[in-house]
């Protein structure tokens, strides 16, 4: 394990400047309700505007509509979007992981079909991994696909599918070879692409979030036909592909920036004198100091992971360490803010800071669960530290 410090090059700094100017222009502070990192709103026109700049699917090949950029370039765009609270929800998953998976494991026909619309910001993806009986133990998924002429017949249920109602397709992990006694659970799984809104036998139903919001869905399949051309990569190799997919979603700025817009807004309101009872007294200043320093160090770690990816390495221990630490830090930030302001919170508050903090409190517990819990990440990282296979 080695994280090597790195600085941005002149070109990378120019990209950062360009992204900042774009945001200042499109979403001047005060003109929009910032989101909490990757949980930000879905806004198709905004996704399209970003895509016009080449900032969606930017690491994908030009041939398929991407920009052939590096992981570090994507890091720069993404961190600015997230810290601004920009509405990146619609293209988020497709940009972060699905596009990469289709590019890496898919056929040319699939690349041609899916990558250009992803890069235009016109195709939103969800993730179909979890099931009612399979959460952390993901290899135990039991949604099954049986062989049929030219494809597969799928039955089963996916759950917690974020934004399936607003996205277009999802990539789904299911079992194509039945489990027999003694067989390895990690074999016989496949990844398939399924249209969420135009598929016979697919039923979508909301699972209201604890605050009543519609975020989660249940997606159930009754004899859903999936043609062979929608199977990504090799049937039966889904576990390995899925593990690769998870590596894309770990260790990036989305794992430590969620409460940033809230902290920034606190500083704004204090400095404008809008925070009753909270001036920049010692305790507040010290808290800003602590958070700023931690963000600085955390960002350097996370950025170094992107550099490693660009150097052709697969920094899987490094990225699980960053994700586990980053999401715990997010929760720590929220707790410290709550202790600091010591006020009743409401989503209807006139103060943007208080609305954001209320939202942080309500959604925060999910940060250390989504995409694999911190307990599971610790097991993965600990095995890596001891040089054991994951």
């Amino acid at each position: 394990m080695r994280f090597t410090p790195t600085e941005l090059t002149t070109d990378e700094l120019a990209l950062q400047t360009e992204v900042r100017a774009f945001l200042a222009d499109e979403l001047p502070p005060g003109s929009h309700e910032p989101g909490l990192g990757m949980s930000a709103r879905h806004d198709k026109p905004f996704s399209k505007k970003m895509a016009e700049r080449g900032w969606v699917g930017m690491a994908l090949p030009k041939e398929w509509g991407g920009s052939d950029k590096k992981a570090v370039d994507r890091f720069i765009v993404v961190e600015e979007m997230l810290r601004w609270g920009a509405p990146v929800g619609y293209h988020w998953v497709a940009d972060r992981q699905t596009g990469n998976i289709i590019n890496k494991f898919g056929t040319d026909e699939q690349r041609e079909r899916f990558l250009p619309p992803i890069c235009r910001g016109e195709l939103g993806f969800s993730i179909g991994m979890s099931e009612p009986d399979s959460g952390s133990d993901l290899a135990s998924v039991s949604t099954r696909a049986e062989r049929d002429d030219g494809g597969w017949i799928v039955n089963g249920t996916k759950i917690w599918t974020s934004n399936a109602h607003t996205n277009d397709w999802f990539i789904c992990l299911l079992r194509t070879t039945p489990l027999e006694d003694g067989s390895n659970k990690r074999e016989g799984l496949s990844q398939v692409l399924i249209d969420l809104h135009n598929t016979d036998g697919l039923e979508l139903s909301p699972i209201p979030f604890l605050n009543g919001e519609h975020h989660f869905n249940e997606v159930s399949f009754t004899d859903v036909f999936v043609p062979d051309e929608n199977v990504v990569g090799q049937a039966g190799m889904g576990w390995n592909q899925n593990t690769t997919e998870m590596a894309y979603e770990r260790g990036g700025p989305d794992r430590w920036l969620s409460p940033f817009s809230t902290v920034e807004q606190l500083l704004r309101e204090i400095q404008r004198g809008e925070m009753a009872g909270t001036a920049l007294h010692d305790r507040v200043t010290e808290l800003f100091g602590e958070l700023t320093a931690r963000w600085w160090a955390m960002r350097n770690l996370s950025l170094s992971v992107s550099r490693l990816i660009d150097a052709g390495e697969a920094p899987s221990i490094e990225s699980s360490l960053v994700k586990e630490m980053g999401t715990r830090f997010e929760i720590e930030v929220i707790e410290k803010l709550v202790e600091l302001v010591d006020q009743e919170l409401t989503l209807e508050s006139e103060s943007l800071f208080q609305r954001l903090l209320a939202q942080c409190v309500l959604t925060g517990p999910g940060n250390t669960i989504r995409g694999g819990t911190i307990e599971i990440l610790r097991s993965v990282a600990a095995k890596g530290l001891q040089g054991l296979p994951a």
């Binding site: 941005l8 920034e264 500083l267 507040v284 200043t285 360490l321």
Partner: protein, 348 residues
């Protein structure tokens, strides 16, 4: 700008050889480690980053910090930071002579009473001076001047850090010193930051060592018929400690790279703050994972943990640096907060 790999290799090999559990233990009992210092000094390591014209070993600040990281890693019981990047830096910047032996600095405690007369005579007391008893020269900052006073002329009251390393009280009664004016940028504030940077480098090494030691100990120690590292509760300690090791090393190296380029106050302040907090968490996790063994003198964990408890409070604790960084953040304002995080001192 990177560190010469040869420096890392040579320093690691040398320190691994001379800093064994028993030699470190012995240094603590004796209050100094002349043999270790001798071996270290022969290579010129203490004077890296000081110009050769001034009697230094040449090389960059980054090289010197890499050596300090290794000094921290191997818990070398020697005044490596003091002699070179602190006292040596003050002397060389003011054009004063570098001694052939140990030089140390007065870190500047609020209870210090040092006075320098117009004729260059030093009187008064300096506290918590690292290795005061072994030093040839003590270097002090006066009003616009750097002062080098013969340390052997001091009346010394011995004290030690939590790690059992010398932190002496030195009292002078009108001792003639060498005095030279301090160039711009060499003042108490600069010394504070440089001291903090030296501690961060040492801490990066020590947390790294401690977290590796904990991985290997918990792999060997068996309970309930298997290595304790198989228990998830123990794995949590391993993961958290190695994160703190990575975080501190990243902070130290990022701050070092910036310091090598120019103003690095934001990076150093942030790095010391991050390191101080990481040291607290990581020592807790590593001790817990070791059980009673970690509480003994016979086992080596304390060489790292006690040094970390020392260094986290030297040259500024959590309050001092969080308040400094917080003021920098407030000065940037809300719109400038993220640019400060990405650009650091360049944004200030």
């Amino acid at each position: 700008m990177t560190v010469d790999a040869l420096i890392t290799d040579t320093a690691s090999r040398l320190l691994a050889e001379v800093c064994t559990h028993s030699t470190i233990q012995q240094a603590e009992a004796q209050g100094e480690a002349p043999e270790i210092w001798q071996a270290f000094a022969e290579t010129g390591f203490p004077w890296i980053s000081l110009p050769e014209e001034a009697g230094g070993s040449g090389g960059t600040l980054l090289d010197a910090l890499e050596v300090l990281r290794l000094v921290g890693y191997y818990a070398a019981p020697i005044p490596a930071a003091e002699t070179g990047v602190l006292a040596g830096w003050l002397l060389a910047s003011a054009g004063l002579e570098l001694p052939g032996g140990i030089a140390t600095v007065a870190p500047g405690s609020t209870s210090d009473t040092i006075q320098i007369s117009d004729s260059g005579h030093v009187s008064g007391t300096a506290h918590m001076v690292p290795w005061g008893r072994s030093a040839e020269r003590l270097v002090l900052l006066g009003e616009g001047v750097v002062v080098s006073v013969p340390a052997t002329a001091a009346i010394i009251s011995q004290a030690s850090s939590l790690a059992g390393e010398p932190r002496d009280t030195m009292t002078f009664h009108g001792v003639q010193a060498d005095v030279a004016s301090a160039p711009d940028g060499v003042d108490a504030e600069a010394l504070r930051f440089r001291g903090a940077l030296s501690r961060v480098a040492l801490m990066a090494g020590a947390i790294d060592k401690m977290s590796r030691l904990t991985v290997s100990y918990t792999n060997e120690r068996e309970q309930f018929g298997r290595p304790v590292s198989r228990f998830q509760a123990v794995q949590q300690h391993l993961v958290w400690a190695s994160q703190d090791a990575a975080l501190t090393r990243m902070a130290a190296e990022s701050a070092g790279r910036q310091a090598n380029r120019g103003d690095a106050r934001f990076e150093i302040a942030s790095a010391k703050l991050v390191a101080n907090q990481a040291a607290t968490r990581a020592t807790k996790a590593c001790h817990q994972a070791h059980g009673a063994m970690g509480m003994t003198q016979e086992y080596e964990l304390h060489h790292s943990s006690r040094r970390l408890w020392t260094w986290r409070s030297e040259y500024g604790g959590v309050r001092e640096w969080s308040s400094w960084v917080g003021q920098a953040a407030a000065a940037q304002g809300a719109d400038g907060l993220y640019p400060l995080i990405t650009a650091g001192s360049a944004a200030v």
